[in-house]
Symmetry: none
Subunit: 201 residues, 4 copies
DNA sequence: TCTTAAACGAGACGGTACGTCATGTCTTAAA
DNA sequence: TTTAAGACATGACGTACCGTCTCGTTTAAGA
């Protein structure tokens, strides 16, 4: 329906090449200097598009940056599936941590920082990246529950937060190093719990 | 020593009232509009100080903001000590979450966002606030270990991250609601662990 | 000829209502804010016509403004004819001055100002308004010559310039007030000449 | 007084070189393309000054243009004084007309056009140029009256308008050619008056 | 009746200049 | 030597119009 409506809209069609040129330029700027060097002016200059054209389609810097980032990062963190859900989870956490340690992590941190003054930036990141990732991790956890590796009464949301939030605080605030050893310690801690082991019997 | 040296330094002394006026103005601006409305220009105008004076003593916006925030938030999250370390921890988490949900939380989010382009801002926040808080929580946990409430082989650092990082992702990215119910679910999850309960016997 | 050629041209005819809507919108904009608020964009929005349509028929802003102004100001300065050419001239000057003092004068000033960057605007104004007026004043003067009120060897062009140019400098530069008293003094001065009266005998 | 006050004002003094660089750049742009090519952006680029600096000192384009023009045109229309006031007046009119026909005339026309949207531009031109010129012509006329060349009861203001306004309408609207022959005809017409010669005796 | 050419609305697009904001550096005179 | 005041170069902001350019629709003449 909406497709038909759009097809019959009068006026010149949106120029797809321009759109792509803008997103490409935006992504390159992001990659080179994170959000710090990311300016509409710069994107316009690099893409050859007019500032007005950019403003026509993206209301804020953050939205453009988010879309550029998402467009160019289709292949998110993916890990092979093994027989052990615990091992899969740990592998996924390690992979995400390694991304956070890389240049991409710097870009993501910039997006989140930008998100403070433009909540929709963060929303775009959440919808575009986090939800996709959450779907994967949720699946792993549910498999783990089915296989008896995780508690059957597990609060999946809280579990995911406990496991993955530290990666963000490491990225944004340097609270931790995000190296493999740390990730393992974190995973173990959440896995076994911090409470004293229940007494047998 | 340093006092004597400073007293005998030639030239006009640093004006303490000016320093305070600047910090006071900075804090009010922070409170009113978070980092978004926080500008050196604005602080100068509001405090009656010259921009030069501000730049002489604070290298960046973020540092000034951090100091202003810290100066005015001496009384951090404090909870009464009960006999149960678990209850204390839970109370502390609830308190911090309530702060994060308040206007102060918005300011903190701004500081962290600013920290992306000025790492020393985040460092100041970490040293000034987080470490103090960590000292408290670490104490609670160590008491809990001693009392047999927590595992004796606990990785305290990982435990604190698992418990507190979700508050930051909630604050910065809205990943969760930070209400009391959520905090309890989070605490329980980390307390009992996500792994299947070891079989008795 | 041209009419026939146009009639036999293929394709859709020019839409007369659109043309009128454009001119009407243009005139209203002119009236409201002079040339300052007059933009093609604005005319398009107000008239409901497309910018393309406007550009198809009017090469420049000034031309459109001039035509809009002329179309809506068919009834130019007209004065009743009395037995005295001198009185008629004076009445005509007073009338024109009063127009120049009004909102219409402001629009005219705008057209002339615009004419600096688009000479054809001024040309349109000259042909459309000034020539018509000159025809009237020239007639009055020639009648005055015939009646013995004006010198028989009068340089009509120079005389009209001396009488009417001050109205324009008053309009454009505020060199004079354009009130009735001034007009009379001007007319008297040009009438009697500035030279010392020729000696009798 | 104001000098003393200014001397004791705190803060950095206005940079004279920058001021001159701006005026010089402004004048060159004016000379090259009149008001059409005159942009604050252009002046900034050419002078090496910042746009903000320009806006600090000149509120509008027109004011800057007017000042730049006046500064660089100190030596206005000057004519040698002869024994005949009539001859002097005619020479002065010819000289001014020749200026109006030149590139400078184009610049003046631009200033007047700009004055439509910024009245203070025209005011600056009037005070800076026209008044100086009027002082000269008024002197000539008064000398002429004293010498018996002009009527003793002459309305000097009206006379000057009748003589000089046509030069402006020629400049701005091309109503006349401004060549020497025209100037002479104009001068003669105003000199002798357009009325029929009074009968001797 | 069908074709074809123009008029027309809508609106995307590359531009230019606008006037403003905040940055961080600098100069000056008083304290 | 510190301070308040403020000038300055820089660079990005977001906006307003400009004039050009597709688009698909509508209208009428000619084949």
């Amino acid at each position: 329906m909406s497709t038909a409506a759009e097809l019959h809209r009068p006026g010149r069609k949106r120029c797809e090449e321009t759109r792509e040129a803008i997103l490409r330029a935006a992504y390159h700027l992001l990659e080179e200097g994170g959000m710090g060097k990311f300016t509409i002016e710069g994107v316009a200059a690099r893409s050859g598009a007019a500032k007005t054209t950019i403003y026509r389609w993206w209301p804020t810097k953050g939205r453009l940056a988010a879309e550029a980032f998402l467009t160019s990062t289709a292949t998110a963190a993916m890990v092979p599936e093994t027989s052990s859900a615990i091992a899969d989870l740990r592998a996924h956490m390690r992979l995400l941590a390694s991304i956070f340690r890389s240049r991409v992590g710097y870009v993501i941190a910039g997006l989140i920082a930008e998100g403070h003054s433009d909540p929709e930036t963060i929303e775009a990141y959440r919808v575009g990246i986090v939800e996709r990732r959450t779907r994967i991790t949720r699946t792993i956890i549910e498999r783990g529950i089915a296989q008896g590796e995780f508690r059957p009464d597990l609060d999946v949301e809280a579990a995911l937060d406990a496991l993955y939030s530290p990666l963000y605080t490491g990225l944004l605030m340097g609270f931790n190093t995000l190296d493999d050893d740390y990730i393992d310690r974190l995973a173990d801690t959440v896995l076994h719990g911090i409470g004293a082991a229940p007494r047998a019997g």
